[in-house]
């Protein structure tokens, strides 16, 4: 099946997904459940990766910008900008594409192969909207929160490196992270995060929803969901960066 077939079928699915839910109270409950499943259960990995990456970015920047013409506080500045502009929104979204994307595709794919989606359809439930829309809404709510947490922790990771190693003095790191802060950087990062959240959940939902066959095919769908979510995140990262920062 060619690319255009998938693109067409994806938009056709989204037309069924993004509509007013059949039962608002049920939908609200589902969103809360999905915020827990997709967001809060990813908090651990986000915390660990952010702290360590913040530390590593600080060390790498310090070792690679060791030049008499560059002020030492530039390390802190570069760390902050790297974390806010790229690491937290893009890398964390790629990690979530792996964790959350595979979960969504395998969950919905398993429901497809065990006829649970058919059961929903026969009952008169819009299965696409019922299964995928709460996940999209939950990710749009919780992913920006995760990314903001990641920003703080990443910068704190750099602080830990400065405070407990001799890579650079803590005062210079603190001066650097407070230098020329632009609020628009946060807006830019959050816009990217929201777009990536939609891509992860909708693409993974698409591959799960159209799973055919058995357990092996659920695995294939899950892999495809992660691969295509990641590709589209990278592609939209380029597009959005050009649009929002150029």
């Amino acid at each position: 099946m060619n690319l255009f077939f998938h693109i067409g079928r994806y938009f056709e699915l989204m037309r069924r997904v993004i509509i007013i839910p059949q039962k608002a109270s049920f939908f609200r409950k589902q969103v809360i459940v999905e915020i827990d499943n997709l967001g809060l259960k990813s908090l651990g990995i986000v915390v660990i990766i952010s702290i360590f990456m913040g530390g590593v970015v600080t060390i790498q920047t310090a070792f690679n910008t060791d030049h008499p013409l560059l002020p030492i506080y530039a390390v802190g500045f570069a760390t902050r900008q790297s974390i806010i502009l790229e690491f937290s929104p893009t890398i964390i979204s790629l990690i979530l594409a792996g964790k959350v994307g595979s979960r969504i595709a395998s969950e919905i794919g398993s429901m497809r192969v065990t006829e649970q989606i058919d059961a929903l359809e026969v009952m008169g439930v819009n299965s696409a909207g019922f299964l995928i829309f709460p996940k999209i809404v939950a990710a749009l709510i919780i992913n920006p929160a995760l990314v903001i947490i990641s920003m703080f922790l990443g910068i704190w990771g750099g602080w830990l490196v400065s405070a407990f190693t001799d890579v650079l003095p803590l005062s210079h790191y603190m001066s650097g992270i407070m230098l020329e802060f632009s609020e628009y950087d946060i807006t830019y990062a959050l816009i990217k995060t929201v777009v990536f959240a939609f891509l992860i959940t909708s693409i993974s939902g698409y591959f799960g929803f159209y799973t055919k066959g058995g357990a092996l095919d659920v695995g294939h769908s899950s892999t495809k969901a992660v691969v295509f979510s990641s590709i589209f995140i990278i592609f939209f990262n380029l597009v959005l960066t050009q649009i929002l920062l150029a």
């Binding site: 059949q22 065990t114 006829e115 649970q116 026969v122 009952m123 008169g124 439930v125």
Partner: protein, 247 residues
Amino acid sequence: MIKVVDIWKYFDNNAIIKNVTASFEKGKTNLIIGQSGSGKTVLLKCIVGLLEPDNGNVFYDERNFTKMNIADKQIVRKELGMLFQGGALFDSLNIEENVMFPLNMFTKYTKEEKLERVNFCLKRVNLGNINHLYPSELSGGMKKRAAIARAIANNPKYLFCDEPNSGLDPKTAIIIDNLIREITKEYNITTIINTHDMNSVMEIGDNVVFMYSGEVWWKGTREDILHSSNKELNSFVYASELLKKLK
């Protein structure tokens, strides 16, 4: 009553269902039988709307289901209950939540009323004290009974069962068969059962449609089967050497 008129369904230009016309009566257990690959599951999916027939119409009490828009179809679907081959209970919900699901979605009952209805349905299928168990904790027969409870929770007018006995031992299979027939008579619903289990046919087959190579090959009652001279039907019914000798 459900009527299907001149149904055709193709997959990759191969006709899987050919010119199927049949009617399924209210208050009776209507069986679609045939060997694997004869098209009975595809026909059932066309009837409930999981597949769109390429030609022909499906009527639910004179309402043309095939020609309806999505919104009207959803109204009709609220009148359907379906028992799937594997039960198709929702893994993430316990049995109580599974049976309550259609009530949560489509009724305005209070929580107490819903719980009362759930317990009534579970009791009706002889399942007690399993409200808080999950589908993975149940045996095959219990799953089927829980799925029947879910199918009847919202008082359906039409009940569909796809291979209700698959994977069950003969004794449990008969219990499930009798349960379906009792529910059909008790609530006067139109029931269509897809099966290739001859025990089921002889036990509960009020009306039987035999499918062969995607076509309706024979129609009658379970008694008529015993006296039929239809070659393909006899070959299906008396498949084993023992049964051939008995005939």
